[in-house]
Symmetry: C2
């Protein structure tokens, strides 16, 4: 089949004859072949900024000499082209900035991390360091188009808020939408949109349920039952921003496609405590509840940040993780991963008899004290090779998700 690849790409602008369906209403967009992504340079960047309400710039390393690497680079352009096509009517523009050719522009715009997409919206710059797939990027941008603060109008809507335990979220109680403090809150919300969710209510009944006083703002860490109140109400934008920035890294966080690489880079001394648990699976759910309990008991431990991965969210990574980490992801797992070489060590778990919260806590203590560490086992070298971005063709892997171009 390899020989056919060369013919492949132009088809993107044509319909898939083998799968023409008689029913209408579920047709997925496909790239129409029109070039929308701008090659940003010193001359055109200001115009691009003016033209679009939102401009997304991929900051990338110079296009390498190797033909293949060039082609891979073009795969990425294609993701942006499809996103650009889909978002065209929303007045969202896309461009690419070469980290060598366009040093000046990059400096002016404050682009730093190669491989990240920088999103310019008004006077804000938002870094997207998530999965570079069209649907993840489009979902991210659609979230950016929503109001920075969602208003909770009644106690039924409050239940929607209660269900979002995976997310960092804030909620404030204000007199009405003219309130100056609501305005400050809204300004703060824009600083974190869409990564951190901000809610407000103007209803006494809702505030009562949340035990919120007028102009008070509560901060909810993921999976914690009790919120922390931002001190010294009423709060200015700066106070809220400072508080969120300080409390941002949670004790337990779920890996999300939209910021998965940013999360992975935020390791603690080169390691991550990683828990795999399928929330839809009874064992996975039970294990997750345990994990939440441990996180709640240890939320004040600055050195503890557990990453929960629901394998269902990343099906294509499951076989890779199972091979790399030597774990069976059909059952819950918790381990320590060294992010420099993906070397790892995992807690022995009996599916029929999950560890108690105490046993889990003791194991985590051993991890934090270094008693449990990834160097204890040493037969991982062959796997480490597979993790390297080298020319190992047996198990080629990639940060870029080809599977979801």
């Amino acid at each position: 089949m390899r020989s056919l690849w060369l013919l492949l790409i132009p088809c993107l602008s044509l319909s898939l004859a083998p799968f023409v369906q008689t029913e209408k209403g579920l047709e997925f967009p496909r790239y129409d072949g029109n070039d929308r992504v701008i090659d940003i340079n010193d001359k055109n960047y200001k115009k691009a900024m003016k033209k679009y309400s939102i401009l997304c710039l991929l900051y990338h390393k110079p296009i390498p000499d190797g033909k293949e690497l060039q082609k891979q680079h073009q795969m990425t352009e294609m993701v942006l082209e499809l996103a650009a096509q889909v978002m065209e009517e929303k007045e969202i523009g896309f461009g690419m900035v070469d980290s060598h050719e366009d040093v000046k522009v990059a400096k002016k715009l404050g682009l730093v991390e190669e491989g990240s997409v920088y999103v310019f919206k008004g006077d804000r710059v938002i870094e997207f360091d998530g999965l570079l797939s069209a649907d993840t990027l489009v979902e991210f941008l659609l979230d950016l188009l929503e109001e920075p603060v969602e208003v909770i109008g009644n106690t039924l809507e409050l239940r929607a808020f209660d269900r979002m335990e995976e997310d960092i979220r804030l909620i404030g109680y204000f007199k009405n939408d003219e309130s100056e403090y609501y305005h400050e809150f809204k300004e703060a919300a824009e600083q974190f949109q869409p990564y951190i969710r901000f809610f407000a209510t103007f209803e006494k009944s809702v505030a009562k349920e949340l035990t919120l006083k007028m102009n008070e703002v509560d901060f909810y860490e993921p999976f914690m039952e009790e919120p922390v109140t931002v001190p010294d109400r009423p709060n200015s934008e700066e106070e809220i921003v400072a508080f969120v920035t300080e409390h941002r890294r949670p004790t337990l966080r779920k890996l999300r496609a939209e910021d998965m690489f940013e999360t992975w880079e935020d390791d603690l001394e080169g390691i991550h405590v990683v828990a795999f648990a399928e929330e839809e699976d009874p064992d996975g759910y039970e294990f997750l509840e345990l994990l939440k309990e441990v996180a709640r008991d240890n939320t004040h431990h600055p050195g503890l940040s557990i990453i929960w991965i629901d394998p269902d969210d990343f099906p294509l990574l499951i076989p890779y993780w199972e091979k790399t980490f030597h774990v069976d992801l059909f059952k819950p797992q918790i381990g320590v991963v060294n992010v420099t070489d993906a070397d790892s060590i995992w807690l022995e778990i009996d599916e029929q008899d999950l560890p108690t919260a105490q046993e889990l806590e003791d194991w985590i203590e051993d991890v934090l004290s270094g008693k449990v560490n990834t160097e204890d086992d040493d037969d991982d070298n062959d796997d480490d090779d597979e993790d390297d971005d080298d020319k190992d063709d047996k198990n080629p892997i990639n940060r870029f998700c080809f599977s979801r171009i």
Copy 2:
């Protein structure tokens, strides 16, 4: 950029240099260029059946003459190749069957719908009529590898079961895993895996919470509070299969990538009642709760089957739906869609003041009586064009999800 496409595909077996990351552990698989998908014919299909524990066959129309259509066909092969590579270690094989060239094989294997993937596992054939993307297909296959029946061991695990209100699910109470009735239940479960979930418990305490008698099986329709008990316990495999088959189409169902086209094809007299509601959004959540209430009150109405779409699950379709249906998907919507031309009509909804359950019910009554129908408005022609699988290049759309190859 178009001119670059021709160079594009061979890169799939190479690493993405611009995005080499220093951290390891999140590398996505990319196609290594090895040919794994078998071109199935009269001579090799038996061997393929023997070789793999699970064999996935895409039943497709003959490869057309047009170069572009051929290329589109190859895009599909690429999806299968990536899935085949990722699932290689799980002993899952992939092949393609041409509906004209391989009539005999297709007949022998019972392949009917062009565009579907038929999955052969033991003596079972499962049709996959969902989104043809590598991750959706791989997730589907991983679900097939799990046990057909999940055992609920305690009341905490039962909470995981309670949370799955979106899914059709059954749960039975049996003496132990040697019970002949459990065996019958398991056999029935295999007939519906992975579309319908089967659970069992051997614990009295769990059975008590579910008010299940020994050897009793309860059937849970999505979003319904009370289950229906399969009559005449203890039940044989045949009885359970017959019951599930009869009760399979729910009053309210959520559109899922793994069977979205099958669901869409299951229209009632050419129309669907479609509700868009973002569960993560307070308004969307409130509207969804309303919808569930209406569904519960009308679950015995044979002519009623509402499809709930959470726009968050299909970001790339949002702009397409907004354009095709003339709706704003940032707020909840409910309407009638004619599946032959995607013509539609939508209920006027005031976000600040959502309709009452009664108003929603009245509107649905009008839909079922034909009083509300898609022919009432007639300025949709320009949009209908966009829905056709013709050569309209302005808004090319596709059943095949290029965005998630």
